[in-house]
């Protein structure tokens, strides 16, 4: 179980970070979402993985730590609100700049420089 859990967290985080580094807002929002999933699972695992245990000390040898579950709940709620906000902001960016690039407009295209060369060549 530990291995699967770790692989899931790892792949979620890795894809999240990859998507975050894209230049368009939609992949960035997706990346943030995946990253927050990975983080939530990680936080959940910080109380150790155990199945079918009680969250009460002393009742059994092994117990499920309830605190990380509370932390994850808080993190989920906050993450959800933030994602909603960033979606609206991305739409605003698209509407204001008529482009979904994270900087409002793409950086100077290499195509421009070739155009210039062609013009000077003429």
């Amino acid at each position: 179980m530990e291995l699967i859990f770790a692989l899931v967290i790892g792949s979620l985080t890795a894809s999240g970070v990859y998507l975050l580094l894209r230049a368009r807002t939609f992949p960035v929002v997706m990346g943030l979402t995946l990253l927050s999933y990975g983080v939530n699972l990680f936080l959940f695992a910080s109380g150790r993985l155990s199945t079918g245990q009680q969250p009460i000390i002393g009742s059994t040898d092994l117990y499920a730590d309830p605190l990380p579950q509370a932390l994850v709940l808080t993190a989920i709620v906050i993450g959800f609100a933030m994602t909603a906000f960033v979606v609206v902001l991305s739409l605003r960016n698209l509407a204001d700049n008529e482009d979904d690039h994270v900087d409002g407009c793409p950086p100077e295209q290499p195509a421009d420089s070739t155009q210039e060369q062609e013009e000077t060549g003429k």
């Binding site: 990253l35 983080v39 990680f42 109380g47 605190l67 808080t74 993450g79 960033v86 902001l89 960016n93």
Partner: protein, 505 residues
């Protein structure tokens, strides 16, 4: 248990909730109530300051749960100082916003008050996860405030700010998870007890978690590799918002002071003084970077935004010395620089309103209205920010320079700080002489009349620099005592033994 501790949180919470439902009430009523709420926060902060001044720790345990099992608020000298600094700044920024900046969005006052609530929770909390929640509260309010004001100018910097801070929150959670998985607690006092006992492989986990926390706090504080979001965002924010945001970077500085002195300080065993070797050079490079940015700024607000980065570099360099004297000097400078920078943001807005289409850009323009008043305010602010005598920035910087022991640290700090101050002086002189003196003939279009409330609030923030000089003696005693209290970590961990209500029956 002291119930006064929740006052700076409950007052803006209630005030903000009232404002939420009053979006369609007459604006004068909304303004009066909002300003009254902020004034009440100042009063409660001053009460807490007088309580904290006796040097003891006061706690408020939510639900009467004994720490470390419940969340606690802890009041000490540092928290009280930060609360007073924030609330005094907030009341003037709020007064300034009544001059018309709060129009155009019915929820401006709500966001402003919730922002203050988030800041106050961050300064009072004694729990690492609660600190995360406080960061989120103040951030989500700040997202709204940053976007406040019409136009498309703020969309892109706002998007960058939000995305960066969301990534920061993710890293914060990972760091908290790593630390919790080893120590089983997130209460700061309990962490200070348990971290020195960590040994073996778990040590690496805690160390990684602690360094990631430093990354998060450095992002909030705008330390060098993580500071490039700041100038654009602050320069384009509405003036009272930018002034309030002068505190936002200080939250990062506060968190570094709190966590790295208390939990990873000298008594932390194998992890003693973690990260401070990194912090010192990074802080100095941040300072240098800020000065370069200030020299190249093309508008007054950008110049002042870079001044925020210069102050962060100066502050963290002094904090990273890891000495009581360095910390005391940093706290003195913190007070001075935050108020000055906030005042300068407000003054820049006033100047921009009097220059017609030239705005706050550093270019020659027709002679502005009210030039004498505004130029004197700008000069006072610039003198205080650059650190010339006789204003407070000078005393802050002298204290920092005096606090460092002879050695390589001293050579670097003196060289960078003095050169930086000199060059930022050049940046201010250049900006001031172009904006105020090099005028061309012509008439201004679309200037706005200079209203009483806005000039009073901007002037008052700048005048606080004189107040700091007049009160320098008592203030310095207070920061000395604060630094001494911070380094006496054993006293902080004693709060775990505080009896709860009903326990002594």
């Amino acid at each position: 248990m002291n119930h006064w501790l929740i006052a700076p949180i409950v007052i803006p919470l209630l005030g903000g909730i009232v404002q939420t439902f009053m979006g369609y009430a007459p604006i004068s009523l909304r303004r009066t109530l909002a300003l009254a709420t902020t004034v009440l926060i100042v009063v409660s902060s001053l009460i807490l300051l007088s309580l904290a001044n006796d040097g003891s720790y006061r706690i408020y345990a939510f639900g009467n749960w004994q720490p470390p099992f419940g969340i606690v608020l802890v009041l000490d000298r540092l928290s009280a100082l930060m609360l007073v600094m924030t609330s005094v700044l907030a009341v003037f920024a709020h007064l300034f916003s009544l001059g018309g900046a709060d129009e155009g969005n019915r929820q401006f006052h709500t966001l402003f008050l919730f922002q203050l609530m988030g800041l106050n929770i961050a300064f009072l909390t004694g729990d690492l996860f609660n600190l995360f929640v406080a960061f989120e509260v103040l951030l989500i309010a700040s997202y709204g405030l940053l976007m406040h004001g019409g136009g498309t100018l703020r969309t892109v910097p706002g998007l960058h700010y939000v995305v960066l801070n969301l990534v920061g929150s993710a890293i914060f959670l990972i760091a908290v998870g790593m630390i919790y998985s080893v120590t089983g607690t997130l209460n700061m006092a309990d962490l200070a007890v348990k971290i020195p006992q960590v040994t073996g492989e778990s040590l690496n986990l805690v160390q990684a978690g602690a360094m990631m926390l430093l990354v998060v706090f450095a992002l909030k504080a705008a330390l060098l590799p993580l500071c490039f979001w700041l100038p654009k965002a602050y320069a384009r924010a509405t003036a009272p918002v930018a002034a309030l945001f002068a505190v936002m970077t200080k939250v990062g500085v506060y968190a570094i002071i709190r966590v790295y002195v208390l939990i990873f300080g000298e008594n932390a065993g194998d992890l003693a003084n973690l990260g401070m070797d990194w912090l010192f050079p990074l802080a100095l490079i941040t300072l240098a970077m800020g000065v370069i940015g200030a020299l190249g700024a093309s508008s007054l607000k950008t110049l002042i935004a870079w001044q925020v980065i210069i102050s962060v570099g100066t502050l963290l360099a002094a904090v990273a010395l890891g000495t009581e004297k360095g910390l005391s000097a940093a706290l003195f400078y913190l007070l001075s620089t935050t108020w000055t920078v906030a005042g300068l943001f407000l003054v820049a807005e006033l100047i921009s309103n009097q220059r017609g289409s030239a705005g706050d850009r550093i270019i020659t323009a027709p002679k502005m209205r009210h030039r004498t008043l505004l130029s004197v305010l700008f000069m006072l602010g610039a003198v205080a920010a650059a650190g010339l005598p006789p204003l407070s920035g000078f005393f802050g910087k002298v204290l920092i320079l005096k606090s460092v022991e002879p050695g390589p640290h001293m050579a670097w700090l003196w060289a960078v700080l003095l050169m930086g101050s000199f060059l930022s002086l050049i940046a201010y002189s250049r900006a001031g002489s172009i904006v105020f003196w090099r005028t061309v003939d012509g008439h201004l279009e679309k200037t706005e009349p200079l209203k009483g409330t806005v000039s009073v609030s901007a002037g008052a923030l700048i005048a606080l620099t004189v107040v700091i000089v007049l009160l320098a003696g008592p203030l310095n005693e207070y920061t000395d005592a604060t630094a001494a209290q911070l380094f006496d970590t054993a006293a902080y961990t004693d709060i775990l033994q505080t009896p709860m209500i009903g326990e002594d029956d």
